[in-house]
Symmetry: C2
Subunit: 332 residues, 2 copies
């Protein structure tokens, strides 16, 4: 039995477990651990994990792969706690929303005989969803960022690529700093904007009248403010510098619109119409450059054989084929 | 036959038509007019209108009620065009997103022998949806702002209240300036924020890498940037002052979060957790004050009898009953 351990069995950890189980890999058992015994029990009940570990040390004992799927700040002490218990050659990965800090902690705390490969599946749910909302298909068609540490073995990198493929996601390689800048712009800034939109209206003296007028637009624009505050807090703490950079740029951009509203309705109309067109092109996937169409290593067939064997390779080949077909359809 | 005319048969006009037809009022015919012959044909095909008018003058000829459901700036020339063709005692209303300007135009252009009652049903769809997406139930459970002009007859006000009820919406009375301030905060500011979030990322040099990481959060936060640019432009032009006021307040609010991210993670966590709780309470309707629980005129039974007769009154009574029941459920 190859053992895969998931630490943190909330929405992401639980969905990874369900995805692993759904693939019916022979000879793999999934061990789960969570500080919250109810999250752990839910994951067990849903079949996301085979075994509930009693302690974090027990959880990683003999594990071939350890997946940390907790809020960002919790990962630090987890790395410290598991460092002495990891099997030689173990692969450690994570699903955290920020990467530079955890790569730094992994370098600091983990022994040399294990490989660290950071990960970030770009999926989630609107609200602060817990274990109960886990789904095997949560990652289908999503990007899965992979950030190998400099000294991670090839096999370890391939195994995490294999995990991403197994979950139906598309692996994307990035440097930790790049990743953190991009998610600051595309994910963490929208969060903070959502909070600010909500609290501005909510704390306004006229809220009780305003709320009568709040429609789907307001609900949608403030949706991220119902996210898990611990997750958001940890993101802000571990990616504060990039986030502040993007908040400042966003304020400039909003001021640009303000200027057009005040002085130049013609220019404003052009900007609004242009944004609509470009957003629709983005949603339709029509603005992808050529180079991105097949961004996978050529040695793809050898991939992911380390941990999951030929079983996974054939699945990977199937996905690769489907992706190529889908791209050909899109090109037409 | 009582004639109700809808000018502008897009999503809102078409949905009002469908709502009117769905109520199967006897003795009412719905006339539609739209500059776009395809929007008009769609409305006719969907059964949102009984008659397609060939000109705007023909459309309002003999109409008891005229509903203007166009982008805001178009309403000005429409009021000028119809002023000389309106029947004595006609009721003119609208569905525009801003109210002060149109109330002003109505005062300027309409004759004394007609009544103007502004309206704003708080409903819509995510994207720049046209006539084809009209639905009879679009306004169900939504607020419907009613802004009577100072010299509108009681009967005219009651008829527009009747229209709101007929569509399943909840009438809310407001002054034009109040309305415009509130929607600036709750609806127009989120729009501009959505555009700025999208264009900031889209025009960034790293967009082609960033887009790989864009998940449901980014799509949701930028959703309003796929709205109809003409609608948004007109809103900015007719409500610019209020919108700029709220953009400035929003920038201050975002700076407050920026400050907490930089200096005070503890305070930040409190703010995030507080926002989540308050937003969830808002979505659950749990933060409504007592006074708002039944904010309808006491003469409700006499309402809406002017245009639609007893038929509508009984429907209204039914809605009132349902609302009371729903509120009782919520209180439990």
């Amino acid at each position: 039995m190859e053992r895969v351990t998931i630490i943190g069995t909330g929405l992401i950890g639980g969905s990874i477990g369900l995805g692993l189980k759904a693939s019916q890999l022979p000879g793999v058992e999934v061990v789960g651990y969570d500080d919250s015994s109810s999250a752990l029990a839910t994951a067990r009940k849903q079949g996301a994990i085979d075994i509930s570990a009693r302690s974090i040390g027990d959880a990683v004992d003999g594990a071939r792969m350890v997946i940390i799927a907790t809020p960002a700040l919790a990962a630090r002490s987890i790395l410290q706690d598991i460092a002495g218990r990891l099997a030689e050659g173990a692969i450690v990965t994570d699903t955290l929303s920020t990467k530079a800090e955890i790569m730094h902690w992994a370098r600091e705390y983990l022994p040399d005989n294990v490989s660290y490969v950071g990960g970030h599946p770009m999926a989630g749910k609107a609200t602060s969803a817990g274990a109960a909302e886990s789904e095997a298909t949560l990652f289908h068609g999503r990007s899965y960022c992979i950030v190998p540490s400099p000294d991670a073995s090839d096999g370890a990198v391939q195994s995490v690529v294999g995990l991403a493929n197994l979950l139906g996601a598309q692996p994307v390689f990035m440097h930790a700093e790049e990743h953190d800048q991009y998610v600051a712009a595309i994910s963490h800034l929208p969060m903070m904007v959502s909070y600010a939109l909500f609290s501005l209206a909510r704390e306004s003296a006229a809220w009780q009248d305003m709320r009568l007028l709040a429609s789907t637009g307001f609900a949608g624009a403030t949706r991220l403010a119902s996210g898990d505050p611990q997750m958001t807090h940890d993101i802000c703490v571990t990616n504060g510098e990039a986030l502040i950079h993007w908040i400042d740029r966003f304020i400039e951009e909003l001021r640009r619109y303000r200027g057009m509203i005040a002085d130049d309705p013609g220019e404003l109309f052009k900007a609004l119409a242009g944004a609509q067109l470009k957003r629709d092109a983005f949603l339709a996937g029509a603005d992808k450059p050529e180079r991105e169409q097949m961004d996978l290593p050529s040695a793809s067939e050898q991939m992911s054989t380390i941990l999951f064997g030929g079983f996974l390779t054939s699945r990977y080949q199937e996905y690769e084929k489907r992706m190529r077909e889908s791209e050909e359809r899109n090109r037409r």
